[in-house]
């Protein structure tokens, strides 16, 4: 029985239909954790015992002062600061994930701290986010940190960026203060190419909405505030409830991509008794399907597809079945995990990609990329690293670093190495070719990790760029 049709009055609020992932980014002390706490509190995602614990700790630390009541008396930031060191120091150290739901959506919130390793945290949170909320302190306006956050979000092509001008209560709900900050934000956004005229395409940030909020008091967070009569836009939660998720946009615009995770072949020579209990062994004697998660687009039974094996010419065949746990599907779409059966008995293995026929260019061993450097260990030319792309990991040589981005001016400056929090350009030579695609058009197959072969740590987030000389939109020169 499907819970979606459960006829229980009043339960609709507990049965949201879609998932929306968003992240928050901000500078030190701009009230980000308080905003997150406010969203959770006002959407009633905080249960009574958690709130009691927070109230006790808040009182121990003298938060709110004598006579404070309700949410004024509790430090909402304590709801998200989960580690002992964070509570002791009153700071957020690591990305924290939080969950809440309204009657329209289930939300996954990545709360990204702003001060230590801000690029690492912002890149991490933004990589899976449908939207990012950037906080600005109304008393401070646009800071260098704000510009850095916005340029990272532009680089990662986050589908939606929302700017919350927080602590609006501390500037007496002043419209002129807000308008000035709004103008500054839009100026930065224009320089970056955020929010251009081409709305509705998946290739860049669609829209930039600036909202005056008070996280401490709740103005314009869940409900529109009467204290900002000059603001006629939506409250933050209304925006989050109505924006299209990245998958919704991608599914419309991009073509089928399916990195093969593993081959499901229960009667393989090495595993003669590997058919699930209760199934007829004979019926699955020749079963062979390719398991994976659709990263983009959709596929139907009967579709022509190309199998891309690095180093070989693409082979074209037809999809004869789409299976999911005993169910036969006629069609599947991103981000579904399925198993696909093909007409021809090709040798297909983990690391290969199945794609809509004729839509992928040849694999290449030359990788041009933007790298967000996330490790204290710097990148040097000549270094040997591992590149993890889709379901394949290959060795790579860093041939050159061609510059690093000044996040305050958005200009590329000369550099021969990259350090923690740097974003730069590099050219790598791969030990085996990969089906690389431009990140601007394919956010999954255009993304990769750089891994340290010694200790296995993740060194960088990589975004595939077109080869120099290929046509590239000048606005995306970073």
């Amino acid at each position: 029985m499907s819970t979606e049709t459960l006829p229980v009055p009043g339960l609709e609020a507990a049965l949201p239909t879609t998932l929306f992932r968003f992240a928050t980014a901000g500078s030190v002390d701009d009230g980000k954790s308080t905003l997150v706490g406010r969203l959770l509190h006002d959407s009633k995602a905080i249960l009574a015992d958690t709130l009691d614990a927070v109230a006790r700790t808040s009182a121990d630390r003298g938060f709110g002062g004598a006579g404070a009541t309700g949410t004024k008396a509790i430090d909402l930031a304590l709801l998200t600061d989960g580690l002992r060191a964070e509570r002791e120091q009153g700071i957020t150290i690591d990305v924290a994930y939080r969950y809440f739901a309204t009657d329209r959506r289930s939300f996954i919130l990545a709360d990204c701290p702003g001060h230590v390793q801000y690029t690492k945290n912002t890149v991490t949170g933004a990589s899976t986010a449908d939207a990012v909320v950037v906080l600005i302190d109304a008393r401070k306006g646009v800071l260098e940190q704000t510009r850095r956050h916005l340029s990272v979000l532009q680089l990662l092509r986050v589908a939606h960026v929302i700017v919350a001008v927080n602590k609006i209560d501390l500037v007496d709900f002043s419209e002129s203060v807000f308008r000035e900050i709004q103008a500054d934000v839009q100026k930065v956004a224009r320089e970056l190419g955020i929010g251009s005229a081409e709305l509705g395409t998946a290739d860049h940030i669609d829209d930039l909405l600036v909202i005056p909020v008070s996280a401490l008091d709740g103005d314009n967070v869940v409900d529109r505030s009467e204290r900002t009569p000059w603001y006629d836009g939506p409250a933050l939660l209304e925006v989050l409830e109505t924006l299209p998720a990245a998958d919704e946009i991608d599914t419309q615009l991009e073509s089928f991509r399916f990195p093969v995770q593993l081959v499901i072949r229960p009667q393989g020579a090495l595993a003669p008794d590997a058919v699930a209990a209760g199934l007829d062994v004979e019926a699955y004697r020749d079963y062979r399907a390719y398991a994976g998660q659709i990263t983009e687009g959709s596929v139907k039974v009967g579709d022509k597809v190309s199998v891309l094996t690095p180093g070989q010419a693409a082979r074209t065949t037809t999809v004869v079945g789409i299976d999911f746990a005993g169910e036969s599907l006629e069609e599947a779409f991103a981000p579904q995990s399925v198993a696909i059966r093909l007409a021809e008995e090709f040798d297909v293995a983990r690391g290969d990609t199945i794609a809509a026929a004729g839509t992928v260019r040849e694999s290449s061993a030359d990788l041009y990329a933007a790298l967000c450097w996330l490790s204290p260990k710097p990148l040097r030319e000549g270094a040997k690293v591992l590149v993890k792309h889709g379901t394949r990991t290959v060795q790579a040589l860093v041939r050159s670093v061609s510059g690093k981005l000044d996040l305050a001016t958005f200009k590329l400056e000369g550099a021969s190495s990259l350090e923690l929090n740097d974003i730069g350009h590099a050219q790598l030579r791969l030990a085996a070719p990969l089906p690389l695609e431009n990140y601007l058009h394919h956010r999954r197959t255009g993304a990769f990790l750089v891994i340290d072969p010694q200790d296995g740590n993740t060194l960088a987030a990589g975004l595939v760029k077109d080869h120099p000389g290929d046509h590239e939109d000048e606005r995306y020169s970073i």
Binding site: R98, T128, P266, T391, I451, N457
Partner: protein, 315 residues
């Protein structure tokens, strides 16, 4: 430029909604992707299986991920010796039905051999870490699936989906690998292993809605039943061999159910009439108390109780 949602983008939303996955389908798909990645990239994974609802959902997801093949890894249970008998029975029936191999790490054996000492408060949940690490080392498991969810606890909220553990099983929350896109980095050196949490992003309500939708069987004590209980630490504790009332604690029969199923010595029941899975979905949706706050004495010890246990190698 500051205009919000032009006509164009609104149309995209409407067109797309018809093909969108429900949140449960999206969570299921994400979990299956992670389970398959771990199986493809690790030599010898195992699934922690206690018979509790989260581990039952994990096992169900694993059967779906590899259909029509069999789940390609064994299940591992750390038996505190204080488990509810009906849960152990459920565990054994499930393993038998799916034809899986069961590895058991026994807290009792470690206590009997003197390698672990019984705690003054009688709870054995924190004692599971040593047998767990021992089972991982002895069986050379390099990846261990757990049913941990980030909504359970503040420390879990900072956990990665693939979480690296050192030779001592320790978690270093301040030095975690960034997790980018859906690319999971599980590289590890000899002696290290990885804990994998494919249902990190599920909430308690998601778990129950999924159990209902997929018609998944659970141990009966998750549903309302009459039981002899006594009040301790603001919870209803079952009367059992290892959970005896003190002279001043009155034993009464109440209609209760369990929201979590752990060690009998520290898991409390809640008063409930929710006798079916749809009753439970409604109850959980309306609940004002977290599942761990309501029913786990071990998490009430301090604000950082879970963080401290995890740093030492707990699930």
């Amino acid at each position: 430029m500051s205009t919000f949602l032009t006509e164009e983008t609104t149309q995209v939303t409407e067109a797309a909604v018809s093909t969108r996955l429900s949140s449960l389908d999206a969570l299921e798909s994400e979990a299956i992707h992670i389970i398959r990645e771990v199986v493809a990239e690790f030599e010898k994974p195992a699934l922690l299986f206690s018979g509790g609802k989260d581990s039952v959902v994990m096992l169900h997801l694993a059967t779906k991920a590899f259909w029509p093949g069999k789940v390609p890894f064994p299940v591992l249970h750390v038996d505190t010796g204080h488990n509810f008998p009906e849960v152990i029975d459920f565990r054994d029936r499930t393993v038998e039905r799916l034809g899986l191999k069961l590895v058991v790490g026994s807290v009792q054996e470690f206590i009997d051999s003197g390698e672990l000492a019984e705690r003054a408060d009688g709870t054995r949940n924190p004692l599971q870490t040593v047998p767990l690490l021992d089972a991982i080392t002895r069986n050379k498991f390099d990846a261990v699936f757990g049913g941990g969810r980030r909504d359970e606890d503040k420390a879990r909220a900072k956990e990665r989906i693939l979480s690296l553990r050192d030779e001592f099983g320790q978690w270093d929350p301040r030095n975690q690998r960034p997790e980018l896109w859906n690319l999971y980095n599980g590289r590890h050196t000899v002696g290290q292993h990885v804990r994998a949490f494919p249902i990190s992003n599920w909430t308690e309500l998601d778990i129950w809605r999924y159990i209902e939708r997929e018609n998944i069987e659970l141990p009966g004590l998750y549903y309302a039943h009459d039981r002899e209980v006594f009040a301790r630490d603001g919870m209803w504790r079952a009367v059992g061999e290892v959970s005896q009332p003190l002279p001043h604690e009155e034993v009464i029969t109440k209609t209760v159910r369990y929201r979590t199923v752990g060690d009998m010595s520290c898991t409390g029941a809640v008063e409930s009439d929710a006798a079916t899975v749809s009753d439970v979905v409604i109850e959980v949706a309306a609940s004002t108390i977290t599942e761990r706050g309501a029913t786990r004495a071990d998490d009430r010890i301090s604000e950082a109780a879970m963080e401290d246990r995890k740093k030492d190698g707990y699930f």
